[in-house]
């Protein structure tokens, strides 16, 4: 096998990509890339070696230049003044928005909820994450573990449940949807699969005048949102409203249309997007699998057949194997179908299970035992060759150097069962993509896709969602869809794919008077509010009854008050500061220190409270009159604005950082409907 180090293929040509050392990233960006101009790998390799030498010389020169100019590199010298004109600096302070793959402006929509502007709050969500009603019920919520409140108080704001509130309380939002041009731009785009990734691409392209065709193998659009998420978590009407909203924007939806050959359709389109998900559930090849196959089901296929009402019953005793969210959906569905003894078995300890905490909790609350450290050994059959149980072996987890090893203990247990559901993972599968049409696959049969552009090695073909890099969740599919749509628009307009639109940002003072701000800066000390649930007994008997009822208006408004408004940034101007220390004294969380500058390591140590959370930046000012600098640890700031309120000279100001991640909908050419 040839050595492909530093090489990647784009438009059938080999390119070189080299990561830039941390200290030079401000100047050179994240990586350097250059085309070798060669299609043949063997010819590209010597060119690559030359290019890498050149890159390394460039690093060297830049480093010396930087030293000459007195530019200090991170780690070795005094800290540099923070560049707040870089939109990413304050974006990172908004923990929830930064953690969200689609970078939804969470604090802004929570404030809109607090003002009861549900339509605006919904639209803010819709523009960024496309499916607020669906995600408000099913999102994996990367925002919540990131939420600042989890560090400053106890539990994060219930961001996901508040997103659902925007859906539940909105009125008709049709007038706010973008206008779809009557005259099309002549470009045809084919989307394969009608899941969240493809639907996002469609939504982002239709307002630009593209003609979009979506191929779906099932008889309804929605992808795994319809087939794999049970309706007691996501009611069909919510799904239908948000999915058909996009179809109604003018997409040509072809249901029951399984594409069995990419080659056959590729020439009919200017670009093709593959959003077919990871549809292949993993199997468990152990003794008895073949013989008992009638009563062994692949979890995701089983959930699909329930969604389409092909399956309506299951045995009384059910074992679910697996520790992820699909396993949780399987066991909860089984109970609702009439099983009265459902157990979940998982090889790893409970603490390492992949399922989201809240989904695991819901399963436990419904009375389903989770047997951890339990590894399947054999399917057991009765005399008639029918499944009667399973043999497991107990495992023990041992951790060495942070790595986990599961050691068999030799202890075996037998659990009786009528049916087994396998939820041990999913793969993507592309039997319908011909190997010779220019799409390269890696050794695991995953397509090689550029992380930024979503483009495959075939210039016309883009991937996104689970189809690109394997199973993730809906919000990632949406984020991929936005990027793919930008790439497709660039591609069809013959603009370089790496020439991507920047995020829309601005930073506006919120001062309304000497001590008045345009936002509510009072910090609520309330604990996280619980979301009301349906009656358990009733819910367990009804497959379609939604378990979580969502916040009522009062709960929603109270929960909204818990948001710390992290987008309200503390902006410091050293030339106005008289070093009176008023901000230092008033800061409730001791974030602000005036001290002499030093290396980052030493500065972090000598703050009023040492800044130990390295994920969070320090905000460093320029030199003050006394030669000191102001250093603010962003980690614990509660954005109460008291520093600015107690500042006699206005050196501190509270400014709202509006950060809107780039997607096609905020391009100038997209028009909004004229409201009569």
């Amino acid at each position: 096998m040839s050595d492909k180090k530093y090489l990647f293929k784009r438009n059938n040509v080999w390119w070189v990509k080299l990561a830039v050392p941390l200290s030079l990233r401000n100047e050179l960006g994240y990586d350097l890339r250059r085309s070798t101009g060669e299609k043949d790998l063997d010819k590209a390799i010597p060119v690559r070696d030359k290019i890498i030498e050149e890159f390394k010389t460039e690093f060297q020169i830049k480093k010396i230049n930087a030293d000459d100019k007195g530019i200090v590199l991170r780690g070795t010298e005094h800290m540099q003044k923070t560049d707040i004109s870089d939109p990413q600096y304050f974006h990172k302070v908004v923990d929830c928005q930064y953690a969200c793959p689609a970078h939804t402006n969470v604090p802004e929509y929570i404030r809109l909820i607090a003002q009861k502007k549900y339509d605006d709050a919904y639209m803010l969500n819709w523009e960024s994450n496309v499916f607020p009603g669906i995600l408000g019920r099913t999102c994996d919520r990367p925002c919540e573990p990131a939420c600042r409140r989890g560090r400053t108080h106890d539990k994060p704001v219930a961001i996901c449940r508040l997103k659902r509130v925007t859906y539940d309380y909105k009125n008709d939002i049709d007038p706010y949807l973008p206008e779809i041009p009557k005259v099309k731009n002549g470009k045809k785009i084919g989307l394969i699969g009608a899941g969240p990734a493809s639907l996002t691409v469609a939504r982002d392209l239709l307002p630009l005048g593209y003609e979009v065709t979506i191929f779906e193998k099932d008889n309804k659009p929605g992808g795994l949102m319809r087939t794999n998420i049970p309706s007691f978590r996501l009611p069909a009407e919510v799904l239908d409203e948000e999915v058909y909203r996009i179809i109604k924007m003018g997409a040509d939806l072809k249901t029951n249309s399984y594409i069995d050959s990419l080659e056959n359709i590729i020439d009919s389109f200017d670009a093709v997007f593959v959003g077919t998900g990871a549809p292949k559930g993993k199997d468990l090849e152990i003794t008895g699998r073949k013989e008992a196959s009638e009563n062994i089901h692949i979890g995701i296929d089983w959930l699909t057949s329930i969604a389409f009402e092909h399956t309506k019953s299951i045995g009384k005793k059910v074992i679910v194997i697996g520790g992820g969210n699909t396993a949780m959906d399987c066991c909860r569905t089984a109970i609702r179908l009439g099983a009265d003894d459902v157990k979940v078995t998982v090889r790893s300890p409970k603490s390492d299970m992949k399922a989201s905490d809240w989904e695991l909790e819901e399963a436990i609350d419904e009375g389903i035992p989770i047997l951890d450290n339990t590894s399947p050994k054999e399917f057991l059959l009765d005399d008639k060759g029918k499944l009667k149980g399973m043999k497991f072996e107990k495992m023990e987890a041992q951790y060495t150097d942070g790595k986990r090893k599961l050691i068999p203990t030799g202890e075996e247990i037998i659990i009786e069962c009528d049916d087994v559901l396998l939820a041990i993972g999913q793969d993507n599968a592309f039997p319908w993509i011909e190997k010779n049409i220019g799409i390269d696959f890696n050794e695991w049969d995953c397509p090689i896709v550029d992380k930024t552009t979503m483009q495959s090695s075939h210039p016309k073909v883009f991937f996104g969602g689970d189809a690109a890099w394997g199973p993730e969740n809906i919000i990632w599919a949406v984020a991929h869809g936005h990027q793919a749509a930008i790439s497709i628009d660039n591609f069809c307009s013959e603009i370089d794919l790496f020439d991507r639109p920047p995020p829309l940002t601005n930073l506006v003072s919120q001062k309304m008077g000497i001590h008045e701000w345009s936002y509510d800066n009072d910090i609520s000390q309330e604990v996280r509010l619980e979301v009301p649930h349906a009656d358990l007994k009733q819910a367990l008997n009804d497959l379609k009854m939604e378990v979580e009822l969502g916040f009522d208006e009062k709960l929603a408004l109270d929960e909204a008050q818990r948001c710390l408004n992290c987008d309200m940034q503390t902006v410091f101007q050293e030339k106005l500061c008289i070093e009176c220390d008023a901000c230092v004294d008033i800061c409730p969380t001791d974030c602000i220190t005036f001290t002499t500058n030093d290396t980052e390591e030493k500065v972090r140590e000598k703050l009023r409270v040492p800044a130990l959370n390295l994920d969070q930046d320090l905000y460093v000012s320029g030199k003050l009159v006394t030669g000191r600098v102001m250093i603010k640890d962003e980690d614990m700031c509660v954005h109460c604005g008291l520093c600015a309120e107690r500042c006699p000279t206005g050196a501190w100001d509270i400014q709202k950082n509006n950060y809107i991640e780039a997607h096609n909908l905020n391009k100038d050419k997209v028009k909004t409907k004229e409201v009569a």
């Binding site: 008289i578 009176c580 004294d585 001791d590 409270v609 040492p610 009159v625 604005g641």
Partner: protein, 350 residues
């Protein structure tokens, strides 16, 4: 406007021996002008009490009238307090001191309260060696009545409206040394590295401790022609080297060159260690201190640091031989000497 500071605090905030954090020593949110030096002094008092593991209920905050005298509301919420008539805080302190020796008395006053209306009271509290820390939050102006000159304003320092000052200032530190104060220091509200150890020393000192703290008034006396502005003090501050407060039983960590530091032992055994910038300076010699203050005043410098300390003085309660216990805890048998002794006294009279 925010009237409350959020109660949540940094989870890693340092705790003292009582298990309290700095925030447990706070008071209400200040209603003084934003940027007032007095607020920095309050923060330094908080810091000193935190570091000395002081129990707030064993502290009495006393004040008169003025911006400075509002300050006790902004620190040590759990302490006793007495806001007296203008300039009469020293009398209240004297009385309280006689009645209960066990409390720590923090008198907070300003240049108007101490150098004008209350100067007589001030002098007599010193003369009587009341065991207290007396803070003068000195901004050279009457902030509460819109910026007239106070008695500590320098001759060359104009007011905000450009008017000349006609009278020379009273130097409270030299006056206090002359009147017999046993711990005299001057500092600047904007230099908390210097101020906090000085407050800690003053709290541990037994006798009258004066802290004359220059505290810029951001509203009326922080302009270019003021000699009590942030900028002026920073440019003319002549600090008497570094002062370290060393609690009882701890080693001095700072290494000074031999002969360049002086160590003063306080009543409870804790020590103050001073870095000497002037080799002839001895803070235990009053004459020496007075000369130095006069010399630096002439040079137009503001000398800050520990100026004078007498660690052998006798506080008021010892001079008057008062009972060690608070008066309100004295029992019947301690208060009433009994008929036998009464008879002896009566016989003496006949």
């Amino acid at each position: 406007m925010s009237y409350f500071k959020p109660i949540n605090k940094h989870p890693n905030l340092e705790k003292n021996k009582l298990g309290l954090t700095r925030r447990d020593y706070e008071g209400g949110v200040s209603t003084l002008c934003a940027g007032c030096g007095h607020d920095s002094i309050s923060a330094c008092i908080i810091e000193a009490c935190f570091r000395l593991n002081i129990e707030a209920y064993k502290v009495a905050k006393l004040s008169g009238i003025g911006c400075s005298s509002k300050a006790p509301a902004y620190f040590l919420n759990a302490s006793h307090g007495f806001n007296s008539v203008h300039g009469r805080m020293p009398s209240i302190a004297t009385g309280a001191n006689c009645a209960n020796e066990d409390l720590l008395y923090l008198g907070v006053s300003g240049d108007g309260d101490s150098a004008s209306i209350g100067i007589g009271q001030f002098i007599h509290a010193i003369r009587r060696q009341v065991n207290m820390v007396y803070f003068v939050e000195n901004n050279g102006t009457y902030g509460l009545t819109k910026g007239q000159f106070s008695a500590t304003n320098d001759l060359e320092s104009k007011n905000k409206y450009g008017e000349d000052n006609l009278f020379p200032p009273i130097d409270l530190t030299s006056m206090a040394i002359q009147m017999g104060a046993s711990y005299v220091a001057r500092s600047f509200s904007g230099d908390r590295d210097q101020l906090v150890p000085l407050i800690m020393g003053a709290i541990q000192h037994k006798g009258f401790a004066l802290l004359d703290i220059i505290s810029p008034c951001v509203t009326f006396n922080n302009h270019d022609s003021s000699t009590k502005s942030y900028d002026y003090i920073r440019n003319h501050n002549e600090a008497m080297g570094k002062t370290d407060f060393v609690p009882l039983g701890e080693e001095i960590k700072t290494n000074y060159d031999e002969g360049s530091s002086v160590e003063v032992k306080l009543h409870d055994g804790s020590r103050l260690s001073l870095e000497k910038t002037d080799h002839n300076f001895d803070p235990t010699d009053a004459g020496n201190s007075l000369d130095l203050i006069r010399k630096k005043n002439k040079e137009g410098k503001i000398i800050t640091g520990l100026l004078y300390v007498d660690n052998k003085c006798k506080p008021l309660t010892e001079i008057m031989d008062l009972p060690d216990k608070p008066l309100n805890t004295l029992e019947q048998d301690e208060l009433c000497p009994g008929s036998e002794i009464l008879e002896v006294i009566n016989n003496d009279l006949s």
